[in-house]
Amino acid sequence: MASNGSDLAPATGRTPLQATADNALKIVVVGGFGAGKTTLVGSVSEIRPLNTEEVMTKAGEGIDPAGAWGKRSTTVAFDFGRITLSASQVLYLFGAPGQERFWFLWDRLFSGALGAVVLVDTRRLEDSWYAIDRLEHHGTPFIVARNNFGEPGHTLDQVREALDLPAEVPLVDCDARDRESSKRVLIELVRHLAALAEAQAPARAEVERVRVEDDPASAEPEAPVTPEYEESTP
């Protein structure tokens, strides 16, 4: 035996998924320290938010075989929660640290995520700049939610301006402690994703149609489709 495992507490109070669950989706909640990521995840999660960690090298290429578990690797911790959507689908919410030095973790977490919510604390807007920049670079669709602790200091327009947020990125107010409010944030993100997907779908259909038609003159003029996000080139 490699280890006796006596240090491990038994798994208590776990809420298992249905046996039919076969497809898990991810949404990432990013924000600076104290912005309320864990609070938001906890308010909508069906399980108590769990915390786990990943050990990685700065190169972001998994574990360094030479360095093994030693000094060259960094440990990053993150929270997550879970929402059962249907008999087969389950959504995992990840609270990701927004600090710059964790960028290599982000790209991992984001790979395959539906989208992201950037949670901002207006007292520390600058904490969100890097997160937004990173998401844009990575090409992950996102919305921004201002976690409003009853502080009416700034209008959403002012926040948008301070964040230099493009008009097409939704910006909403929320109270991360409130389940309904957090739920609305997630719904807002999914609606935004659907709008982006819908905007793309007709464009693709149009291209298909034009291709099969013999007479190009009969094709309706097409608005140029500019991709919303650029593919990142690592």
Binding site: A2, S3, N4, G5, S6, D7, L8, A9, A11, P16, L17, A19, A21, D22, N23, A24, L25, K26, V44, L50, N51, T52, E53, E54, V55, M56, G62, I63, P65, G67, A68, W69, G70, T75, R82, I83, T84, L85, S86, V90, Y92, F94, R108, L109, G112, L114, P141, K183, L186, I187, V190, R191, L193, A194, L196, A197, A201, P227, E228, Y229
Partner: protein, 122 residues
């Protein structure tokens, strides 16, 4: 073999992680996503490594890789190595996320509608 007392709960003692993974540090990188759902296909066998036993018990119902890591209080990479062992012997099966983002990183509308309905029902 680890020497001395093992600290309770999570610790990042490299020696402990080295022991659990029997010296391996490279996880089968593409075999598991953070949210790949793991399902145990058999009962733990006598003499199995304790972490393997715990994984098999935990995964009697589908359990995401990240939940296994949280429950075992081990880094995700370490858990992936352990899961790799179990997958290789057929002791577990893996239900991978079906969503593969397209070039624009957008999920398909059907998936989004299902997610929306699920959230609205909460």
């Amino acid at each position: 073999m680890s020497s001395g007392p093992v600290l309770p709960g999570r610790d990042d003692d490299p020696d402990r992680l080295y022991t659990i993974t029997r010296g391996r540090s490279r996880s089968p990188e593409n075999a598991f996503d953070l949210v790949t759902l793991i399902v145990a296909e058999r009962e733990p066998a006598p003499g199995m490594q304790s972490e393997h036993v715990r994984i098999l018990r935990m995964c009697e119902a589908p359990t995401a890789v990240v939940e296994v890591a949280a429950e075992l209080a081990l880094p995700v990479s370490v858990v992936k190595i352990l899961l790799g062992d179990l997958l290789e012997t057929g002791a577990i099966t893996a239900r991978h996320p079906r969503f593969a983002p397209n070039k624009a990183r957008l999920p398909d509308l059907d998936t989004l509608k299902q997610v929306l309905h699920g959230l609205q029902r909460l």
